[in-house]
C-alpha cells in the first residue's frame, strides 16, 4: 500500500504535456513559467539541440549519395519522400514502415517522432489568420462557428510572435494582418519587378515571406542560446545556430530554465486515464516504444499536443464507461472535419534579362502573395481563397543534365549562374466536411498494439473549383511581369496530407453537442484536458497554421493555470 502511494507520488506532476513539438514546446514553456511542475511525454527518441544535428555542417561531398535517398530508404519513408527527399534531413522524418497507417482514400501522413516533432521540419512560413477567417463558417453556415474571434487572439499573437522571432515586412493589409517583425529578407531583382508589375496592373500586393528566422536576434532570443540566421538554407538538417524557431531551439530551453521541466522519451501515450466519477483526467498511460513496458503518470492538468492526428487518436483510444466512443466524444465529432491545404498548383515561367542581377546567400524563404479572391468586392463561384508562395532564382549546374552539349566549354558554362526562373505555388483553403475524417482500424494494429489510423478524406467541389483560379491567376501575374514561357500547372494527384497542414478532428465550438473543445481548447466534458494543436481548428484559412496553434496554446495555458489556481479544475 505504502509502496504504491510512493510510486504514485514519484510520478505525479502538476501538468502533463503530450508531445514536444511546435505546440507541446509552448505548453511546456508557459506552464513551467507560471510555476507548474511539468512532465513532457514524448513518443520518439531524444534529439538534442545542436549536437544531434549530425548532418548540419557536412559539405556536399561528405554525403555518400550527394543528397539523394537510396531506394531502400525511400521505401521506408514513403510519405516523407515528398518532402525530405534529401540525405541530410531524412533522419528527422519517421519511418512509414514502422509506423503504418491505412489510406481508404489517399493521404500522406508525415511525422517526426522525436524531441521537437515537426518544428524541426517546418518551412517556417508564419502568418496571422485574419478577421474573416474566424467569421467565415458562421457567415456561410458551414461547419460550426468559431467560439473565438480574431480580437481574442491579438494579445496572444503579439505574445508568441515576439518570442518566436519572425522576419517580415509590415504592409497594413487586413487580409494578412502584420505580426511583430524582425527585419525582412531581401527580394531579388526579378521579384521586385514582379511585385511592381502586379501592383500596377492587377492591384495585388506581394510581400516578402514572413518566416520564423532571426534576422536580428533580440535579448530574449539570445537568452535561450539562439543566434542570427546565416542564410545557408540548410534548415532541414537542423540549425546549429538555433536561428529558426523550433521547440528544441526556443521553447524547451526556456522551459528548462525554470527547473520545473521533466521530459520522458520513447513514451507513447496510449490513453488518458479517466476518473469517471469526477469526470476528470487523472493522468496518462504510456507504452515504452522500445521495451513495450506500460507506465502511468499522473497530473491535475493534461495538455494534448501530439499533433492533429496524434492528439485526436489519443482521445479516441481513451474509452471508459462515461466515454465509450472516446474521451470527449459526446458530439461524435472526433476524427471528423479533417482539413489540410490544397497545393501543387500554380504557374512557373522563364525570365529573360536580369543577366547582371544576382544575389548572395541562400534565402530560407520566398515571396508571399496574400489572398485576393472572395475578398473585398471580389466574388467567385466558390467559397474562400488562396495565397501563393514562390520566388525567382537562377538555375545552377544541374540545368546541364537536360541541356545539349558536353565537354570543356560545357563544363565551364556550368560554373556560371544560369538563367532566372520563377515559380508561384498556391495554397488553398479546404472547407470543413464531416465526411472527411479518420478513424481507428478495428483489426489492424501497429507493433505497440495500438489501432492503426484509417484516413478517409479528399478534396471536394469547392477546392476543385478554386484550383482553376489558382492556376490562371498565377499565370496572369507572371504574364503581367512580362516573363516568358509561362506554364500554368495543376497536379491532380495532390491529395490530402501533402499540404502538411493537417487540421481539425477535435474542433472548437460553442455547443458541446457539435464540438469537442470550448473556446479555451478545453474538452467540453472533461475540463482538465486541453487540446491545443491543429486538431482544435474549426476551419482552415489559407495561410500556414502553426502561428495560430502557438497563440492558442499560450492562451489556453494561461487560462488553465488561472483555473487551476482558482480550484476550478
Amino acid at each position: 500500500m505504502n509502496l504504491n502511494i510512493k510510486a504514485d507520488k514519484a510520478q505525479t506532476y502538476d501538468a502533463i504535456v503530450v508531445g514536444s513539438g511546435m505546440t507541446g514546446g509552448w505548453a511546456a514553456k508557459e506552464l513551467t513559467e507560471k510555476g507548474l511542475k511539468v512532465l513532457v511525454v514524448e513518443r520518439g527518441y531524444e534529439l538534442k539541440h545542436v549536437e544531434d544535428y549530425k548532418t548540419a555542417m557536412k559539405d556536399p561531398w561528405e554525403f555518400e549519395h550527394r543528397g539523394k535517398i537510396p531506394i531502400v530508404a525511400a521505401e521506408e519513408h514513403y510519405a516523407t519522400m515528398y518532402f525530405s527527399a534529401k540525405e541530410g534531413s531524412q533522419y528527422l522524418y519517421s519511418n512509414d514502415k514502422e509506423n503504418p497507417y491505412i489510406q481508404k482514400r489517399p493521404f500522406n501522413w508525415i511525422r517526426a517522432y522525436h524531441t521537437g516533432g515537426k518544428s524541426l521540419l517546418w518551412g517556417k512560413h508564419t502568418y496571422r489568420w485574419n478577421r474573416e477567417d474566424f467569421l467565415a463558417n458562421a457567415k456561410q453556415g458551414l461547419g460550426v462557428d468559431w467560439p473565438i474571434r480574431y480580437d481574442d487572439l491579438i494579445p496572444w499573437y503579439n505574445y508568441v510572435e515576439k518570442f518566436v522571432g519572425i522576419s517580415g515586412q509590415a504592409e497594413g493589409l487586413a487580409v494578412l494582418p502584420d505580426s511583430n517583425f524582425l527585419p525582412p529578407m531581401a527580394m531579388t531583382a526579378p521579384e521586385i519587378h514582379l511585385k511592381k508589375s502586379v501592383a500596377q496592373k492587377l492591384n495585388r500586393p506581394i510581400t516578402i515571406g514572413r518566416v520564423a528566422h532571426l534576422t536580428k536576434p533580440q535579448p530574449w532570443h539570445t537568452a535561450v542560446g539562439r543566434a542570427s540566421c546565416q542564410f545557408r538554407n540548410r534548415c532541414s538538417r537542423g540549425c546549429p545556430f538555433g536561428a529558426y524557431f523550433s521547440s528544441l531551439a526556443a521553447t524547451i530551453p526556456a522551459a528548462r530554465q525554470t527547473n520545473r521541466l521533466t521530459i520522458v522519451h520513447n513514451a507513447i501515450v496510449k490513453e488518458i486515464i479517466l476518473d469517471d466519477k469526477a469526470q476528470k483526467a487523472k493522468g496518462v498511460r504510456v507504452i515504452d516504444q522500445n521495451t513495450l513496458e506500460v507506465r502511468e503518470f499522473y497530473a491535475k492538468l493534461i495538455f494534448l499536443n501530439a499533433g492533429t492526428i496524434g492528439s485526436t487518436s489519443i482521445l479516441m483510444n481513451s474509452k471508459s464507461a462515461r466515454f465509450p466512443n472516446g474521451l470527449g466524444n459526446d458530439s461524435d465529432q472526433l476524427g471528423r472535419n479533417l482539413m489540410d491545404h490544397h497545393l501543387a498548383i500554380g504557374a512557373r515561367a522563364d525570365i529573360e534579362g536580369f543577366e547582371d542581377d544576382y544575389f548572395f546567400g541562400a534565402r530560407p524563404g520566398s515571396l508571399y502573395i496574400p489572398r485576393f479572391r472572395n475578398w473585398g468586392n471580389d466574388k467567385r463561384d466558390y467559397l474562400r481563397g488562396f495565397g501563393y508562395q514562390g520566388g525567382a532564382s537562377r538555375a545552377d549546374w544541374s540545368r546541364g543534365a537536360t541541356e545539349t552539349g558536353f565537354g570543356a566549354d560545357f563544363k565551364k558554362k556550368m560554373t556560371q549562374p544560369g538563367p532566372w526562373k520563377i515559380n508561384l505555388s498556391g495554397f488553398g483553403e479546404v472547407l470543413p466536411n464531416p465526411n472527411n475524417r479518420f478513424y481507428l482500424s478495428e483489426d489492424q494494429k501497429d507493433k505497440w498494439g495500438l489501432p492503426q489510423i484509417v484516413f478517409d478524406a479528399d478534396f471536394g467541389e469547392n477546392e476543385r473549383a478554386m484550383r482553376k483560379d489558382i492556376m490562371n491567376d498565377g499565370a496572369e501575374m507572371l504574364e503581367a511581369a512580362g516573363f516568358k514561357n509561362v506554364v500554368p500547372y495543376d497536379n491532380p494527384v495532390a491529395h490530402m496530407g501533402l499540404g502538411i497542414h493537417e487540421m481539425g478532428t477535435a474542433r472548437m465550438g460553442k455547443d458541446p453537442k457539435t464540438s469537442v473543445l470550448n473556446k479555451f481548447n478545453q474538452v467540453h466534458a472533461c475540463k482538465n484536458v486541453f487540446v491545443t494543436d491543429g486538431s482544435a481548428m474549426t476551419s482552415a484559412s489559407n495561410v500556414n497554421p502553426s502561428l495560430t496553434y502557438m497563440a492558442l496554446t499560450a492562451r489556453a495555458a494561461s487560462y488553465a493555470v488561472e483555473q487551476l489556481k482558482a480550484g476550478s479544475l
Binding site: P60, L343, D356, S398, V493
Partner: protein, 184 residues
C-alpha cells in the same frame, strides 16, 4: 509523371531546388509502392570493361582542363554507387543497355574524336525520346558526381558554406556561381 510534378512543386514551396536531377529522382519515386523492389544485388554493378567505358564517357562530358575532370573527382565509382542504391531495376536496365551498346561499338578502341561523335549521336537520339534514357542518367550522375565533389566544388564555384547574409547584388564579369552546399 503526376507524382513527379507534385513533388517538384512541393520542393519549390519549401524553397527547394528545381533541377533536372531532382526531376529524374522524382520519376524514380513515382514507381515506389507500385512495383516490387527489384534492386540488383551483385557486388559490382558494372563489368570492368563497362566501368572503363563509363569512366571514359564521364571524362568526355567533364574533361580535365585547367581544372580537374570527372575521373579526378571520382565520378566513375560514384556512378556505380548511385546506380546500385538510388535507381530501380527499369532504370538500371536502361542504363546497362546503353553501356552495352557502347561496348558493342568497341567504344574504348575508338579515337577520341570518334568517341565524341558517338556520344553526340547518342545525345541526338535521346532528344527524340523522353524520360530516363541512358544519356540522361549518365549526364545527371556525371554532373552530380562532379559538381558536388570536393575537387569539383572548389575548382568550379565560389563555395560559401556560411554566407551570413542575403542580398541582391550585381554580377561581376566572369563571376563563378555561388554554391552554398545546401543541396543535400
Amino acid at each position: 509523371m503526376n507524382r513527379r510534378e507534385a513533388v517538384t512543386h512541393v520542393a519549390w514551396i519549401l524553397g527547394g531546388v528545381f533541377s533536372a536531377p531532382t526531376l529524374q529522382a522524382m520519376s524514380r519515386w513515382e514507381q515506389i509502392g507500385s512495383q516490387a523492389s527489384a534492386l540488383r544485388q551483385s557486388g559490382s554493378f558494372l563489368t570492368e570493361t563497362q566501368h572503363e567505358i563509363m569512366a571514359r564517357v564521364a571524362e568526355l562530358i567533364i574533361p580535365r582542363t585547367d581544372t580537374p575532370g570527372a575521373i579526378d573527382a571520382g565520378v566513375p565509382d560514384f556512378m556505380e554507387v548511385m546506380l546500385r542504391d538510388c535507381y530501380r531495376k527499369p532504370a538500371q536496365d536502361t542504363f546497362l543497355a546503353g553501356v552495352g551498346e557502347l561496348e558493342q561499338k568497341g567504344f574504348l578502341k575508338l579515337s577520341p574524336d570518334q568517341q565524341t561523335t558517338t556520344l553526340k549521336q547518342v545525345e541526338a537520339e535521346t532528344q527524340k525520346t523522353s524520360d530516363s534514357s541512358f544519356w540522361l542518367i549518365t549526364k545527371e550522375l556525371t554532373l552530380l558526381g562532379y559538381y558536388t565533389s570536393e575537387v569539383g566544388v572548389k575548382a568550379s564555384f565560389d563555395y560559401q558554406p556560411i554566407p551570413g547574409r542575403f542580398e541582391a547584388i550585381k554580377i561581376k564579369p566572369g563571376q563563378k556561381d555561388f554554391m552554398y552546399g545546401n543541396q543535400a
